[in-house]
């Protein structure tokens, strides 16, 4: 069991003009499930590989369980990693795949067998032990890859997008299994994904990365309800948050000359206003600023897409609500997330309390 501490970790690839990972500070507590999430190229995999020891650290320090591991070989870091394409040894049977790392550590045979059998029963792959990886399905290969990590009984699990090669349904069920397994073993885990749904559902602590920097660290709900930057606001949540360019003038939010909300608590100036589609409802009645473009039916809900003064708007509604070509947008200004237009940082620190009782209609 171990915690991980990253101090100003940087990575510059040879020949690259700027670093891929720029001064990341991160504290991962013992037993925590931390998910690193971000768009491709944000440095999340590089960060994970630096923790694993597969990439050198350009500057900064990584400590696992209080030991600085910068110059340690992957084998000596007491970690186990699950790869995206499983990386099973194709010429070895499942049993050999699981026991290979233990044999290299000169573990006694009886102990190896005990651990392999334990892992096999946890993952229900006992019947597959004598097969070669090529005779396994994607989901089974994934289990074997996890088994290879479990038998090690490491102090840290590292997952590098382990579910991206599976089909959607299997991904959801494996997601649940990984979550339960981690809870049961209580091993500190770092998980990399680009899928924000996967990130939200798995994480104790979510780390959103963008262009090599940490945008925000927090629980999934914190990030969902209090995004500290425009990037996090747009990245977390599905369907994505509405983001509009506007201005704050004396406590009023003005978008393209139209006053859309009163009593917002933010200094005057250009802002990006964010509103979750769930927080927006549309009313029919002949007038309004919302022009309907198209509707996505999701079964229990529907996503209504349109625009308002040329800015795209989407709203999540129940299927029984009537639709029209032109509608009024109704929302509570307390649900607005306001960000500085230049820096992208949040400007309304607390929800706008005074306007909470009177819904805005545009």
């Amino acid at each position: 069991m171990a915690d991980i501490k990253l101090t100003r970790v940087e990575k510059t690839y040879p020949g690259a003009s700027e670093p891929s990972v720029k001064g990341v500070d991160l504290q991962i507590n013992d037993g925590e499930f931390v998910v690193l999430v971000g768009p491709s190229g944000c440095g999340k995999s590089t960060l994970l590989r630096m923790i694993a020891g597969l990439e050198t650290i350009s500057s900064g320090e990584i400590a696992i369980a209080g030991r600085v591991v910068n110059d340690m070989e992957p084998m000596d870091r007491n970690i186990a990693m699950v790869f995206q394409n499983y990386a099973l040894y194709p010429h070895m049977s499942v049993r050999q795949n699981l026991s290979y790392g233990l044999k290299n550590r000169k573990m006694p045979k009886a102990e190896i067998n005990r651990r392999v059998d334990d892992a096999a029963s946890i993952l229900q792959i006992g019947a597959l032990l004598d097969r070669k990886p090529r005779a396994l399905s994607g989901g089974q290969r994934q289990r074997v890859a996890m088994g290879r990590a479990i038998v090690r009984e490491p102090s840290v699990f590292l997952f590098d997008e382990p579910l991206s090669n599976l089909d959607a349904k299997l991904r959801v069920s494996m997601r649940g299994e990984i979550r339960q397994l981690q809870k049961r073993l209580g091993t500190t885990s770092v998980y990399v994904t680009h899928d924000q749904m996967e990130a939200m559902t798995l994480a104790d602590k979510l780390v959103v990365l963008n262009a090599g920097r940490v945008e925000q660290v927090g629980t999934p709900l914190e990030l969902f309800h209090q995004p500290q930057t425009v990037f996090v606001a747009g990245f977390i949540g599905s369907p994505g948050m509405n983001l509009w360019d506007g201005d704050v003038r004396q406590g009023n939010l003005v978008i393209d000359g139209v006053e859309v909300a009163r009593g917002v608590r933010a200094p005057d100036g250009p802002v990006v206003a964010g509103l979750r589609p769930e927080a927006l409802s549309l009313q029919t009645g002949g007038d309004g600023q919302f022009i309907l473009s198209y509707v996505e039916e999701l079964g229990s809900t529907r996503l209504v897409h349109g625009h308002f003064n040329g800015q795209p708007v989407s709203a999540q509604m129940t299927p029984d609500q009537p639709l029209d070509q032109v509608m009024r947008m109704v929302f509570d200004s307390a649900d607005l997330h306001l960000f500085d237009a230049a820096t992208g940082a949040r400007v309304n620190s607390a929800p706008a309390i005074d306007a909470a009782s009177t819904p805005e209609t545009v």
């Binding site: 394409n85 990386a87 290979y100 790392g101 290299n104």
Partner: protein, 282 residues
């Protein structure tokens, strides 16, 4: 693409049959000629069916060899050829595999240069560098030895290139997983790189064995002691006799015997050979 047109079927069979004939006819002629008495060839007509002598030429050649043309017994020459072919095969595979492994998995100065330097030797087969190579071998005192017969033929760009391609198909994650599992470079080589290129090694071994077995010019140059003669040169020596017509029946018997080991190797390794050349999944 599967097409079903009678004309196309006919044409493709025709091409295949012509191919078989052109490959098989010389072998057939050799086989037939070895069963005739030597007088049968004086007429200038090539016999197309087995003659009356049966296996007597074979027995004679196995027994006493072609002593009249100054060659050692067939067995000795076959053994020499076998030793030379095996040393070349094993040596080429070991050296090229190790150098391909170095080129693919280690970052050292002039790595790319090293690879291209090896690659460019493709343009320098023994025939091109025969004089300097002979001088080196002679100065090292390796004339008339198995070392002299095989070592100059061992360095191989083709095999290095082939193994490089094989290693490049192994995914990086495999190497990384092995590193996390605590396998150092040489352990990775033994535990993963080697078993995963098993079929490629087999395919290459077949090709290289035949290459080694068929060497003619080089053994002719470095051996003067007849106890190191190889079978392929022996055939040539038997054909060029002075003051006599070549004894074609005996020569052809030796030719047929000389063909046997490569044929056996191909037949025995065929399954692995084909797999090694076509298999892509790792």
């Amino acid at each position: 693409m599967v097409e079903n047109r009678p004309l196309l079927t006919f044409l493709s069979h025709l091409v295949l049959i012509l191919g078989v004939i052109s490959v098989a006819l010389p072998v057939w002629l050799a086989l037939v000629a070895s069963t005739h008495p030597s007088s049968a060839f004086v007429s200038g007509r090539v016999p197309l069916w087995f003659g009356p002598d049966g296996l007597s030429s074979y027995i004679k050649m196995m027994d006493q060899g072609a002593s009249t043309s100054g060659t050692p017994p067939i067995g000795q020459m076959m053994f020499n050829s076998l030793v030379m072919a095996l040393i070349i095969t094993v040596g080429k595979i070991v050296i090229s595999m190790l150098s391909a492994f170095a080129i693919c998995y280690f970052r050292f100065p002039f790595r790319v240069l090293a690879f291209w330097a090896i690659f460019i030797t493709l343009m320098l087969p023994v025939e091109v560098r025969i004089v300097p190579t002979f001088e080196v071998v002679a100065n090292l005192g390796m004339l008339n030895s198995y070392a002299g017969l095989s070592i100059p033929l061992i360095a191989s760009a083709t095999a290095t290139f082939l193994f490089r391609q094989v290693f490049l198909t192994l995914p990086d994650e495999l190497t990384e997983a092995a590193r996390i599992d605590g396998a150092g470079p040489m352990k990775f080589f033994w535990d993963h790189a080697l078993p995963l290129s098993r079929t490629n090694i087999a395919a290459l071994a077949v090709i290289l064995f035949i290459y080694g077995w068929n060497q003619y010019l080089w053994p002719l140059i470095v051996t003067t002691d007849e106890s190191y003669y190889t079978i392929v040169m022996g055939i040539k020596r038997m054909a060029s006799v002075v003051d006599d017509a070549p004894r074609w029946n005996d020569i052809m018997a030796v030719v047929v015997m000389a063909m046997m080991p490569p044929v056996l190797v191909v037949v025995a390794m065929q399954k692995l050979f084909v797999k090694g050349l076509v298999e892509t999944e790792k």
